[in-house]
């Protein structure tokens, strides 16, 4: 690639007390890239994602996103959070707000955008995730898959340059996984830069440009889906692929 990376991580460490969860991560992500992070639980892949929007504070190293240095400055942190959307395993919709209010909240409060413009955009986004008829409904009335699609719309309403997905389908009943993956694949087709922590190997294989296999807080192996799934090099990755079969 000739472009500059939109995300640069250099020697990123993260510890909780004596427990080191990330042991020196170097990663560059280019605009439009879709990266799947795989690995067994506890390998540090979710932590890596959460460091990118400062939900976790890194212990050592450098993170630069879209030219902004992610340091302790709260101005920088908020600037980055506006550009980086996140979708959580547990959806985390605001239960006291309707679906539409959920989507409209951040653009109005954070970007101070005009309410009627935001509403128009929110309805377009809800249409995009197939939930325009649920705009006035409260999240509790929705299935898990529907809630997650609203959560995606809510993140997109900030017009982010990067989307982070932290196990977006892990809390869903199997029959609801696909509707969420479909929306994610649509984003892939639109050229969104995405980092996806997932156990859905089909998504990692079919939809991503690059797959990162993490183990014990380091990037053990990285490559194209074909390289990772069909020509794994390290023994750890080979074992992992067998274990999830």
């Amino acid at each position: 690639m000739i472009q500059n990376p939109i995300i640069t991580m250099e020697n990123v460490h993260k510890s909780y007390g004596d427990l080191e969860v990330l042991k020196g991560i170097d990663l560059q992500v280019y605009p439009g890239e879709v990266i799947s992070l795989i690995g067994s639980s506890g390998s540090g892949k979710s932590t890596l994602l959460r460091c990118l929007n400062h939900l976790e504070k890194i212990s050592k190293g450098t993170i630069i996103i879209d030219g902004i240095h992610l340091d302790e400055s709260s101005r920088h942190i908020n600037q980055i959070r506006r550009e980086v959307g996140m979708v959580f395993q547990q959806f985390n919709l605001f239960p006291h707000m309707t679906v539409l209010q959920n989507v409209m909240e951040a653009p109005i409060r954070v970007l101070k955008r005009d309410r009627s413009d935001v509403k128009k955009q929110a309805l377009t986004l809800l249409k995009k995730v197939g939930l325009q008829d649920k705009a006035e409904v409260y999240p509790k009335k929705l299935s898990g898959g529907q809630q997650q699609r609203v959560a995606i719309a809510r993140a997109l309403a900030m017009n982010p340059k990067i989307m982070l997905f932290d196990e977006p389908t892990s809390a869903l009943d199997p029959e609801l996984v696909n509707e969420v993956l479909l929306v994610m694949k649509e984003l892939v087709a639109e050229g969104m830069t995405m980092l996806v922590v997932t156990h859905e190997m089909s998504f990692a294989r079919d939809a991503s440009d690059r797959v990162i296999y993490m183990s014990n807080g380091i990037i053990e192996e990285t490559g194209s889906p074909d390289e990772i799934f069909h020509h794994p090099k390290s023994q750890k990755l080979k074992n992992f692929l067998v274990s999830i079969k």
Binding site: V84, F88, P95, V110, K140
Partner: protein, 217 residues
């Protein structure tokens, strides 16, 4: 012998005194709610002196009798040159006491909100005051309503302490009529019934608020 007909002609006075009781109770509930909110925000703040002050406030106000607090305000403050009317002194004492309990109720409510709510709001770029005001507190308030209801009922009953600093509320008034007529049972039972009516009404109002807010869930 007991003679409840005796009470009859005093009923208008008792109703008037009940209004004073309601006034003290409702105003001190409101003071308690506002104070409780301020104290809980101090308590959960990352600024150490604020949270220590909140701890201290709750520790003292919950750990000492309300009557002592009331006497300090009404009889103690004039010694420092601050003269308060009996009504105002009662409001301040009851309100400050309620503030400590409301703060603890709110804290429970805030702690019951899943961490993911804060994280989702942060990830959308919202700042702390906005997250508190728009996301956390509205949810925490709903969770707190049963606790607020209990505290309000306690406060309504405790407003009878104001009779000890000469506020002419229901208890004070009943006492006066009881002794002048030498009819303690009659007047105190009547007072109890009046209190019961008021706490029942309060419970009813709180239930209505609760069910109205619960629509979203």
């Amino acid at each position: 012998m007991l003679d409840f007909t005796l009470v009859q002609k005093y009923i208008p006075f008792l109703i008037k005194a009940s209004w004073v009781t309601l006034e003290i109770s409702i105003l001190s509930i409101l003071i308690g709610l506002i104070l409780g909110l301020v104290i809980v925000l101090m308590k959960i703040s990352s600024i150490k002196p604020l949270s220590l002050f909140a701890d201290f406030y709750i520790w003292v106000l919950r750990g000492t009798p309300m009557l002592v607090q009331l006497f300090l305000v009404y009889f103690g403050l004039p010694q420092l040159g601050i003269e308060l009317s009996p009504f105002l002194a009662s409001l301040i004492a009851l309100g400050m006491n309620a503030g400590a309990y409301m703060a603890e109720i709110f804290r429970g409510g805030i702690q019951s909100i899943p961490k993911g709510q804060m994280e989702a709001a942060l990830s959308l770029g919202m700042d702390y005051p906005t997250i508190m005001r728009r996301i956390i507190l509205p949810q925490a308030f709903r969770v707190s309503i049963p606790g607020i209801g209990n505290e309000s009922i306690t406060l309504l009953k405790d407003s009878s302490l104001a009779s000890l600093v000469t506020v002419s509320e229901l208890m004070m008034t009943s006492q006066r009529f009881a002794s002048s007529n030498y009819a303690f049972i009659e007047f105190y039972i009547t007072a109890a019934i009046f209190y019961l009516i008021m706490t029942t009404l309060l419970t009813f109002v709180l239930r209505r608020i609760e069910s109205k807010l619960a629509v979203a869930d």
